[in-house]
């Protein structure tokens, strides 16, 4: 979970200056959550740990390329992790059997007035906006995020024509950005 007290940007800048202690603090703060996501994407702990290892090494080596005027440090770190995980998934070329129960649950999770209020008060903008999408637009976005599936894989998982899936994702993302910018 993001810790609002933790200074991700300052920590990355310290890493760029070669501060090993800062990197270790970042590891202690974030490695568990990063591993949780990598395991969900890759389906296997050993591969997820390899992915996390590679991502962390990259974070250290590229820390000097982080620029706080472009965005938040934690987002930058996860962009590296997810990029690695997606490459690993693509090069593996086959899917793991996964239990998508929690994704189904989130896909079913339509907007209720009280949820929207609590999401808003807790700053969960994306959850709030996702809930406002219709299920057929929400579900493929969740499959892409949590399982790293391609358009084709999503189409076959949901037994829906490829063109329809592409259109729904695009429309879903546009609706999301409208809601997020509002």
């Amino acid at each position: 979970m993001a810790d609002s007290e933790f200074d991700y940007e300052g920590t990355l800048e310290a890493c760029a200056r070669g501060d090993k202690g800062a990197f270790q603090r970042l590891y202690q703060r974030e490695a568990g959550q990063m591993l949780g996501l990598a395991i969900t994407l890759l389906g296997r702990r050993d591969q997820a740990e390899d992915c996390l290892h590679d991502a962390l090494v990259k974070v250290w080596h590229n820390a000097d390329r982080f620029d706080r005027s472009l965005g938040q440090g934690r987002a930058w770190i996860y962009s590296i992790l997810r990029y690695r995980a997606l490459n690993q998934l693509r090069s593996r070329g086959r899917l793991v059997d996964t239990d998508d129960g929690f994704i189904e649950q989130m896909a079913d999770d339509s907007a209720q007035a009280e949820d929207i209020a609590s999401d808003q008060s807790e700053g969960r903008e994306l959850r709030r906006c996702l809930r406002q999408l219709e299920r057929p637009r929400r579900h493929p976005i969740l499959l892409a995020f949590y399982r790293g599936l391609t358009h084709e894989q999503i189409a076959s998982r949901l037994t829906t024509p490829l063109g329809t899936i592409k259109g729904r994702i695009r429309a879903g993302l546009r609706a999301l950005q409208e809601c997020l910018q509002a």
Binding site: G71, Y78, R124, I141, Y146, I169
Partner: protein, 239 residues
């Protein structure tokens, strides 16, 4: 073709961040993000929003060797140490396992009075190790006893639920130079007995641990999953 208008462009970058674009479109967007600060900002904005989804997932404790591996890859530890055995040795030395702990010792003393935990009149040295949740001295889970004949007995104090597609594996480490040695898979909540031949000579300070591994055990000759319980052998009697 990357749209010029802001909103379609932002949506396309969202697709890229989700990993949905294929070549050559993916490369085009990647290049745009590398060159155009506004595009880079949009990509990080998407990533920032998507963090909410990542944070819905429970964190997972990395295996203890991961931090050692990362340090080795960064060249922070001498190259001569770049082996799994030494990674293991790193946390052997670093984790303050010797702090294991006043609680464990108190329990040990208590156990030593229980019948069955200690064998009668050992013919040679006997040992006990209380295996605890790492970093939580008040959570003993298993007890290892090695009697005077060298027979090892592992007893459970807890009934943990293990996911159906995973296994619990029992390990020991005598000398960090040799690396950890598997002592086989363990049924959660059930103990096991190993003969002196299987276990070899036990020494004071020898490390025992249980790790969570893929079904059927670690694919490597070292633990790959998180440590569930860990403890060191303590000499309780010698003749």
């Amino acid at each position: 073709m990357i749209p010029e208008a802001i909103e379609p462009r932002r949506a396309l970058i969202g697709e890229y961040v989700l990993g949905l674009l294929e070549e050559p479109e993916a490369s085009e967007v990647r290049e745009l993000i590398a060159q155009d600060r506004d595009a880079a900002r949009m990509a990080l904005e998407w990533e920032q929003h998507l963090l909410e989804l990542a944070d819905e997932l429970p964190p997972q404790t990395p295996s203890l060797v991961l931090w050692e591996r990362v340090q080795q890859s960064l060249g922070w530890t001498p190259a001569s140490q770049a082996t799994a055995a030494d990674a293991f040795a790193g946390w052997w030395n670093n984790l303050g396992l010797w702090r294991l702990t006043s609680g464990a010792l108190a329990l040990l003393v208590l156990l030593s009075w229980l019948p069955g935990v200690m064998r009668d009149a050992p013919s040679s040295a006997s040992f006990t190790a209380v295996l605890q949740v790492p970093g939580e001295s008040a959570k003993p889970g298993w007890v290892v006893t090695v009697d005077g004949d060298g027979t090892l007995n592992l007893q459970s104090l807890v009934a943990d639920q293990i996911p159906a597609n995973q296994s619990v594996q029992f390990w020991t480490l005598i000398d960090p130079k040799d690396g950890p040695r598997s002592l086989g898979l363990i049924e959660p909540g059930k103990g096991t007995t190993l003969s002196a031949e299987q276990i070899g000579a036990v020494q004071a300070g020898q490390l025992f641990e249980l790790t969570l591994e893929p079904e059927g055990g670690s694919p490597l000759n070292r633990p790959t999953g998180p440590v569930l319980y860990i403890g060191r052998a303590v000499l309780i009697a010698s003749n």
